[in-house]
Amino acid sequence: MRTWRGRLIGLAILVVAASLIVTGTSLGGSSSSSRTAKAQAPVKVTFWQQKFEDYQQKWFTKYVRAFNKSQNKIQVTYVVVPGDVWTQKLKAAQAAGTQPDVATTNYGNIAPGVLNGQFTPLDSLLPKAAFADIKSNVRSFVQVDGKYYGYPMLVEPSAVLYYRTDLAKKAGLDVKNPPKSWPKLIKWARAMNVGNVKGITIASVAPDLGWSSWGLQYNACGHLPISTDWSKGEATDPCYTKLLNFYKALYQGSLMPQQPKVGYPDATPYGNGEVAMMVNGSWAIGQIKQYFPKLLAKTAVAPMASFNGDDKKTTATLGGWTLTVDSKSKQKQAAADFIRYLLAGNPKIMAGFFELSGYSKFTVRTSVDKALASDPKAGKDPFMKVIATKIVPYGRQEPKFPWDISFAMGTAIESAMKGKQSVPDALKTANDTINSVIQKQDLAGAGKGN
């Protein structure tokens, strides 16, 4: 017994000692090679992308892989984050110091982010030619005080009118002359509001109204509901009354779904034939092409109607996405090199993106425009032609002020639509809220135009 126990203990000691020697040797042996490996190890860059349509994730995956393969100095780790958890996930990462080096940022968040010291200026990290390639009307979208804080990817008008030509014909409407004024749009909606098919769908909840109505706020008043220097609210400007009345007429006249199943950016109700017209962003074309191809032949697009029928007045803002480099990133140059490859490099990469999108989004670079011009499919696309020539040229930049201002106006529109408050009361509440936001967030004097 004793002999067996002794042998077993001896064996165990031998095994432990041997393993220690082996481990020690391997550790010792690896120290110099690890130093060499460290010297050659690629720089790691984390890239967070807010989740969009499926084709976008495929496109990003393809080009992140291609970038990683194309060189051995930078390794990009690509993370897709769903939109509904984006803010809390990013804030948690910022608090923990694990924020991504590169992230998708919309135009509206550039200025507040710069104010908070969140982004690195790209001026010294990207070549001048990359900035020269950005269309002149888009440059200001990513600039603060003359510096570039993001590289733009695309623009997409926030409001386009889609209508079913077959249903319009059936209702005795002239499909070649879509409604240009709000009263005429209401008339069309009423004419096509038959049975279970509603005349139109448009945003109806404050979080959607807050941003999708920017273009129509410009249309009604020529400005947004805050003074250009952000020192006082201007929501009680009487011109907004007609805007709220327009939405109210559509909702209270039951010309639009009373309980929309999806948010404003989703074209599913139109695709399912539940509505005859739809106000939605240009991105809806991509959804219709991908999921409801049979509707393409029966669909036409037009600029969203203006309050007085002037089709050269703004009815949409030009939203879109950029890539930004975090100011705390330890790999700023590597992060910028990745952005340069993806967004500012070979024009064919971005041209491929727009082709995948079904030409539902628009380029911000002159060189990509040229690449697309050589694509016969792009030239023939009827939707792209209307949006590019009749909507984009009159689109305005998204506001740079904090979201609370837009949300207050969105709440006013919703409140009037659903009869919670009269139009003047709703506007007064919005104005009080805006003034309170200005005071609490020290905004007075921070504005440099809407």
Partner: protein, 314 residues
């Protein structure tokens, strides 16, 4: 001079007291050891975060520019904000709609189950408890379908010539529409708690009452309800505190709309936090701490209003 007997007596008393003190000391030590893990865990996960939150609420928090001391500014901003108070009002309205309904329904069902016997009672108990094991997310999605224009709810009211009603998009009815799944999810567990307490009431009380000619209502009024006082207190306190913090149902079903009609306090705080500005982070933190104080005050008021008593039977 003390006699030998007296001295021996004192020594004995002294030894007994020492033994008792020793036993007491030992039992105290055991008690401290037993509660130690909980105290440590509470300190790490509750007390420290709470203290740190109070400390941070005095700053305008920025993850990039450093925190800026602003004192009690954010508490003033929250208390000044009409949307915060509107959300607290929504919370209390939601409590008023759900807690009494849940307790009354649970009481009636528990009384029914108690009067049944054998397999019927078992089937009913299981059926009543099923919603409690369902996820709130699933319940929310199911009820969103029920409330659609062509959903079951509109079909039902249509039988009476009403509607279609925009259940989730009409500020007048949306909170009640959310309260329905709230009650449905919560009354199962309340029923089982009440049933368990009812089964503890001696049957002889009811037999005596029956001999005196008492019916269901008199038995409930004079026997069941008084003896369930502490259970009702528990259900009211936990019900109020939990429903005042309702978050998932309005988040999924309405997002707090229409026009903030279902914007409960927690949802208001969550949506405030989702803004990117440094203002939003500190504001939501201060709002959370104020809500914590409101919940504590409400619980205290309920305890004051409905004093717990020791059951007659002990």
């Amino acid at each position: 001079m003390a006699t030998r007997a007296e001295t021996l007596g004192r020594v004995k008393v002294f030894r007994t007291a020492k033994r008792k003190r020793g036993r007491l000391h030992q039992s105290n030590l055991t008690a401290y050891l037993m509660i130690a893990p909980m105290v440590v865990l509470l300190s790490i996960f509750v007390l420290y975060p709470l203290g740190y939150a109070v400390y941070l609420s005095g700053y305008r928090i920025s993850f990039y520019k450093g925190n800026q001391w602003v004192g009690l500014d954010f508490y003033r901003y929250v208390l000044d904000d009409p949307r915060f108070w509107a959300s607290v009002r929504v919370g209390f309205k939601y409590v008023a709609m759900t807690v009494p309904t849940m307790i009354i329904l649970a009481f009636l069902l528990a009384s029914l189950i108690r009067s049944l016997s054998g397999w019927m009672a078992t089937v009913l108990k299981t059926t009543v408890y099923v919603p409690a094991v369902l996820s709130s997310v699933i319940a929310s999605v199911v009820f969103v379908f029920i409330y659609q224009d062509q959903g079951v709810a509109n079909w039902f009211v249509g039988l009476f010539g009403i509607g279609p009603v925009a259940w989730l998009n009409d500020p007048g009815v949306s909170l009640a529409a959310i309260a329905a799944p709230g009650v449905w999810l919560g009354f199962g567990i309340s029923t089982l708690i009440l049933l368990a307490a009812m089964l503890d009431i001696p049957q002889s009380y009811y037999e005596s009452a029956s001999l005196d000619g008492a019916g269901f209502f008199r038995k409930s009024r004079y026997i069941t309800i008084p003896l369930l006082r502490n259970v009702f207190l528990f259900l009211i306190v936990t019900g109020v505190v939990l429903t005042l913090q309702e978050f998932l149902l309005p988040l999924i079903m309405t997002g707090g709309g229409p026009v903030d009609a279902t914007n409960t306090p927690n949802l208001f705080i969550f949506n405030s936090f989702r803004d990117f500005t440094p203002y939003a982070t500190s504001f939501s933190l201060a709002a959370s701490l104020i809500l914590f104080a409101v919940l504590g005050a409400v619980s205290l008021l309920i305890f004051k209003a409905v004093n717990s008593v020791k059951a007659v039977d002990g």
